[in-house]
């Protein structure tokens, strides 16, 4: 028994196997994760950094010049027109998220609970159809619908109910936002409601909870994450949209996206446009964080 025991070797064997397993998994993750990561880096992160950098540049004689000035930030953040546009855009987007969420719910409820699986599949397909046509085309057709000689006014005016003035009003903008977001919100809500365990609804009924109260007390709390995600999507899409406020809202008052376009068009002021864009990105990040906290937050009160 004078020879050394081969113990250290056998002991390190599992450790080595574990580390090589880990290395394998890391290689696997890098291989499959790299393409989207590279894509995001090239077309999102780098432009974003460039955008942030540009907020500190200056414009001389309609020419961009790299700089490190805070002038753009002070100008935009103190400008009345920016503050008005910011509040206006935030308000209309929030309103859109609310209207879309409320309007979508009965449809999503019906699709999730009241129709056969075959009908549900068909309707879900129909909800995807709007995305086949490009969004500006859909906005143009909405414009035609609401124009003074459009279908809606042709029907309403003889009934003494018109003319309906929707174009070039905030209502027009919201209608456009809804054209963009409503099908998506219905889809997301349908998926959220479909995932509510049927047995919880039955348990509620069994304990004396009628149909409408069950919606409030069981279905909405159970589908909370999905419903909040759907509303947040509507807000995010509306907040950055340029088409609806331009063609249905008539650009007046301007939203933040219109402001960006204005800064670029009049005076080639890319740095100021970048400041507006940066505040929008920041706002969306904050909104997302708040919504995620709302959706996933440990519910302290528990109903």
């Amino acid at each position: 028994m004078s020879e050394p025991l081969p113990l250290p070797d056998t002991a390190s064997e599992p450790a080595r196997a574990a580390s090589s397993r880990w290395a394998n998994r890391a290689r696997y993750a890098v291989f499959w994760g790299a393409p989207p990561a590279l894509w995001q880096a090239a077309f999102f992160l780098v432009p974003l950094c460039f955008l942030i950098a540009m907020t500190f540049w200056s414009v001389r004689n309609f020419r961009l010049a790299p700089d490190s000035t805070l002038a753009n930030w002070t100008f935009i953040l103190t400008a009345g027109f920016f503050r008005n546009a910011y509040v206006y855009t935030f308000w209309l987007s929030a309103l859109t998220a609310l209207i879309a969420s409320l309007a979508a719910f009965p449809a999503a409820y019906t699709l999730a609970y009241k129709v056969s699986p075959a009908t549900r599949r068909l309707m879900i397909f129909m909800l995807v159809v709007p995305f086949f046509t490009s969004y500006p085309v859909r906005i143009y057709s909405t414009q035609i619908f609401f124009s003074p000689q459009g279908i809606i006014n042709t029907v309403l005016v003889p009934l003494g109910l018109g003319p309906l003035q929707v174009l070039n009003t905030p209502t027009g903008t919201v209608v456009g936002y809804l054209v963009l977001t409503l099908p998506l919100v219905v889809l997301l809500q349908t998926f959220a409601l479909s995932n509510v365990p049927r047995i919880l609804i039955e348990a509620a009924h069994n304990l004396g909870c009628g149909r409408f109260r069950t919606i409030w007390q069981v279905i909405i709390p159970s589908a909370r994450i999905g419903l909040i995600v759907a509303g947040t999507f509507a807000f995010v899409l509306a907040f950055g949209d340029y088409v609806a406020p331009t063609y249905l809202g008539g650009s007046k008052p301007p939203t933040l996206s219109i402001l960006i376009a204005d800064q670029v068009k009049s005076g080639n002021n890319w740095p100021r446009a970048s400041v507006v864009a940066a505040t929008m990105i920041l706002t969306l990040m904050m909104v997302m964080l708040v919504m995620i906290a709302l959706a996933y937050g440990r519910r302290k009160g528990r109903g």
């Binding site: 009924h205 069994n206 004396g208």
Partner: protein, 360 residues
């Protein structure tokens, strides 16, 4: 005659051309512990769900105290159910789960709280009142589900496989606890189970179902001692079914088959001609073992195939020369003086009075 509490009158439930429940009729008296038992797919859960109003009968009538119940919405009924998977609300605390039904009845918050406390205390979950249900073990969740249902102080409690998700030692404890609760509360318990040991241990009466039909309704003892048909005799277990040919033997009927020859009382309800094929049922625990035949009737010699020990009872499997298999159930103390080992030949013997015939 007084009106029974619950009547199921030719109730059927069809899904398309599939009958989940084909034709079910039975009554339940107030304060009974009823077990609905049968193999999976026999329609027992659907029957329970129809009593709760979660499924509508396709035909037939369910009555509560003589009043038709079919059209009542589930939330208008007083029949809380304890689900196999508990169906607790994961977004509510234990307390809020227990209070849920009381809230629907519009009880003021203080009253709700008092009742919830009382029931959580009674079921031993008061310590978890503020926890989320996802932080509880299976046994604790079951208690929350029971508290949630019983807090409504209903006149009946429905239980869907209440013990099958629990581990074995917890199952035995919960079983006796359910029996105790039933005795203390004096309300009607209707319990669905596929396990005859559960059903027979807990219930006053057992409804045995198969393929959407009631096979037999009766007290556990009666079902064990007098199975109504072949399905019941086989499903409840512990029975020997001897197939043979009948012949007259005075006041008794004689059966000859692969197991040998046996005598049994002539059935009162139906008649057999000599030479008819019949099935004689003899309960396994009514057969005795002896080292050698004594020349009496109803004696069968056989070779011991296996011995199956469960707790303090042993089931002996014998094979006769004719190829029939017998099962004999004895308590360990009964066979202590009879040395038994596989391969050995032994005599099985039973009284002429304990056998009975199946109708078909």
């Amino acid at each position: 005659m007084a009106i029974p509490m619950i009547e199921l009158d030719r109730v059927a439930k069809h899904y398309g051309d599939q009958a989940a429940v084909a034709d079910v009729s039975f009554d339940i008296e107030k304060g009974e512990f009823i077990a609905l038992m049968g193999p999976s797919g026999c329609g027992k859960t659907t029957t329970l769900r129809m009593i709760a109003g979660l499924d509508q009968p396709t035909s037939g009538e369910i009555r509560l105290w003589g009043r038709r119940l079919n059209e009542d919405a589930p939330w208008e009924r007083d029949a809380p159910l304890v689900w196999q998977s508990y169906a607790l609300f994961p977004f509510l605390s234990v307390r809020k789960n227990v209070e849920f039904g009381l809230k629907q009845r519009g009880l003021p918050a203080a009253e709700r709280r008092r009742k919830a406390d009382e029931w959580m205390e009674r079921l031993g979950i008061a310590g978890f009142a503020e926890r989320g249900v996802d932080q509880l073990s299976g046994g604790q969740r079951q208690r929350v589900a029971l508290a949630r249902a019983l807090a409504l102080e209903p006149e009946m409690l429905l239980l869907d496989e209440p013990l099958s998700a629990l581990d074995p030692h917890l199952r035995v404890r919960m079983q006796s606890e359910l029996v105790r609760l039933h005795r203390e509360l004096g309300i009607t318990f209707i319990c669905v189970t596929h396990s005859h040991s559960e059903a027979f241990a807990m219930a006053d009466r057992v409804v045995i179902m198969n393929e959407g039909r009631v096979q037999q309704v009766g007290a556990p003892r009666d079902i064990y001692r007098r199975a109504a048909n072949r399905f019941v005799a086989e499903f409840v277990g512990g029975n020997n079914l001897f197939a043979g040919t009948a012949s007259s033997a005075g006041t008794r009927l004689r059966v000859d088959g692969p197991f040998g020859t046996a005598l049994a009382p002539r059935p009162a309800e139906f008649t057999f001609q000599d030479g008819d094929a019949v099935t004689l049922v003899v309960a396994a625990d009514r057969i005795e073992l002896a080292p050698a035949p004594m020349g009496a009737d109803n004696e069968v010699e056989g070779r011991v195939v296996t011995l199956d020990f469960v707790g303090s009872s042993v089931t002996v499997f014998l094979e006769t020369a004719g190829g029939a298999e017998l099962r004999i159930q004895q308590s360990l103390s009964q066979i202590e003086n009879t040395p038994l080992s596989p391969g050995q030949t032994i005599t099985a013997r039973w009284s002429q009075d304990v056998g009975f015939f199946l109708s078909s």
